[in-house]
Symmetry: C2
Subunit: 378 residues, 2 copies
């Protein structure tokens, strides 16, 4: 049975990327590697739509978030954290760990923070040094309108705008410079179509100044060290060489497709996925859907573990379960990274096989037809 | 021209390991991956000769050192750091970053700390909470007698014994439990024959208690989080999946060879390498040589960059340069990880070609003959 991954990280790795990483290892001080890292640095600027440095760290995306909080701010700095899911919660935990002065905006799972709500909090806390935002909240499949919110923050405050773009970069429109972001993070195993192990962080001029001034103790996650090495197309510590080489290959793929085309493809796949689920009579979870992952309520009376067993072991499809209080209540279909139109047809087709098998009532073919219609009429 | 790597990290990755990592990626919550991680956890205990947990972190070896300092100790804790090279210096930097109370023992490059010297410092600082040691100092190719020193520390103090085993584990004898170590770290790209990107940390019962009590703020490098996940064969953050899968393969190779055989092979290769260099009339740098890497003085009048150009571009051999004040004065031949007897013959043979080309005088064949003699007479 063919196995197919529809999870929001790891996401499928293209064969050419896997084969590139399987080539004999080279040393990271070798001119050959320096040349690769220089090209990666350049192509990362294209990915984030920035002229600013984007540093590469050997760590998961969380490591990138920690580097941001511990390098841009100092103990006592007031941060506003928007928590609308597991990854927003992580921002709060990091703020509590490092600056120990965090104002949290709790947002209901499956909804996005409203610009007004953020503005009110910002006005009530004029001494805010940074705002921690999640562009695409993976746990809830919910997208936040970063463009509008960033604009609002810049108009009303000097707070640094830090965006967890982990499942947004390479899926949603992200224009780091134009939108005036200060830090934006992604991880390799997301839109970049790579195995996990690298965090990428874009940093504005304002962020770089803040990094110079920060008094928080850190070492491996020091963005000061990372920026210093970045200027020489180097890294402060031995990088995950094979992953950087794979990233070179996957960034080339993104460049060849064109970043705007990549964003549009994700929007198209996400929309078709939602229409397929909807046609099958399944309720969507988010009222502000991400283009990276689509969370769907399990139909009433359907048991998650029986459903997942059929989907996984009879159809070879791995999707993500719900998290926290939504465990067993929702599931999440990812279309982040190396996916195309036919993949959406395939996953909705497998959903039909599964729902049929467990006795859920629907008109056979109605899901895949909706997917086709979405593509052919767009 | 065939390219061959003789650097102390990255070290060559066996083909079966590369191909295993090139298989389609799986999700880290997949039972298949949990099974792999459980096996990795079990085989890491064999590697470190311990019944204690060995945690896997997605970071370079430095990340493992940082996790140790920031998780075992609290601000103000007095640490003794032994600094006999670039990596000993890193212990000091980490201590200065986190506990800000570090007594440093400076050791001349190319020599190891003497047990007496450490004991005196320990007695002069009875409030020492931890001792930071380097088993094999990569920058100087120098080994420290950890067994004797650990014994001495345990007899005279309650300080936790933290060992940077990054180029020692899988090369030198390391018996974590028997020697009474508290933390020992290695990295994937060393004796483990893997690409960089993973840090592995063995932790004693005493270390685990210290971790519970530590008040240093950390997050990604929290060993408390890592231990909690380890107990369920899980990781707190998305692990570098493909690297963990490669590690499964390389640990299997070490198990099949036998850990004592692996140690003996490294001792044998290092000895032959030194005898080959010596026969060619080149002076050895260290008076307490590591089995991982052999540093050699460049013969007088030989220019490093001309030498390296011939070695690299005419013979395909990459060795490591000297670091800091020894840049251009020494070079370092690695035999750490996936090397055998014939590799030593080959690297000394390439040295002969190179020395001949740049006009250094020696009797052709005397280097390789010494290598052969070392192997055949042992």
């Amino acid at each position: 049975m063919k196995k197919r991954l529809f999870t929001p990280g790891p996401t499928p790795v293209p064969e050419n990327v896997m084969l590139r990483m399987a080539e004999p290892i080279i040393h990271h001080r070798n001119p050959e590697f320096v040349e690769i890292l220089a090209r990666v640095h350049k192509n990362l600027k294209y990915l984030f739509q920035t002229e600013q440095p984007v540093v590469v760290m050997s760590a998961s995306g969380t490591g990138g978030m920690e580097a941001t909080v511990s390098s841009l701010f100092s103990p006592g700095d007031k941060l506003i954290s928007v928590n609308g899911g597991k990854f927003g919660e992580r921002w709060t935990q990091l703020a509590n760990t490092y600056t120990q002065n965090c104002v949290e905006i709790k947002v209901e799972w499956g909804t996005a923070v409203q610009p007004d709500q953020l503005l009110d909090t910002l006005k009530a806390n004029p001494d805010t040094k940074g705002v921690l935002l999640t562009h695409s909240e993976t746990s809830t499949g919910t997208a936040t309108d970063i463009k509008t919110i960033a604009n609002l923050i810049r108009e009303n405050s000097d707070a640094l705008i830090c965006v967890d773009g982990i499942t947004a970069v390479g899926a949603h429109e992200v224009r780091f410079d134009e939108w005036g972001l200060d830090a934006c993070i992604t991880g390799s195993q997301k839109g970049l179509m790579m195995p996990p192990g690298l965090a990428l962080i874009a940093l504005s001029e304002r962020a770089i100044k803040a990094i110079e001034a920060s008094t928080t103790p850190n070492f491996y996650f020091s963005l000061k060290k990372a920026l210093k090495s970045h200027a020489k197309d180097d890294t402060p510590f031995t990088p995950a060489v094979s992953l950087v080489i794979g990233l070179d290959e996957s960034l080339e793929m993104i460049k060849n497709e064109g970043i705007e085309q990549v964003w549009q493809r994700h929007e198209r796949l996400a929309s078709a996925c939602r229409q397929g689920c909807d046609a099958l009579g399944m309720k969507l979870f988010s009222n502000s859907p991400s283009y990276a992952v689509t969370p769907v309520w399990l139909p009433e009376g359907v048991d998650w573990s029986s459903f997942n067993k059929v989907l996984k072991f009879e159809n070879g499809i791995t999707v993500a379960a719900g998290q926290e209080e939504y465990k067993g209540k929702i599931f999440r279909i990812s279309h982040l990274g190396f996916y195309d139109e036919l993949d959406m047809l395939l996953v909705i087709g497998a959903l039909e096989f599964t729902l049929k098998k467990i006795g859920f009532d629907f008109e056979p073919g109605v899901g895949v037809a909706a997917v086709q219609k979405a593509f052919l009429q767009s």
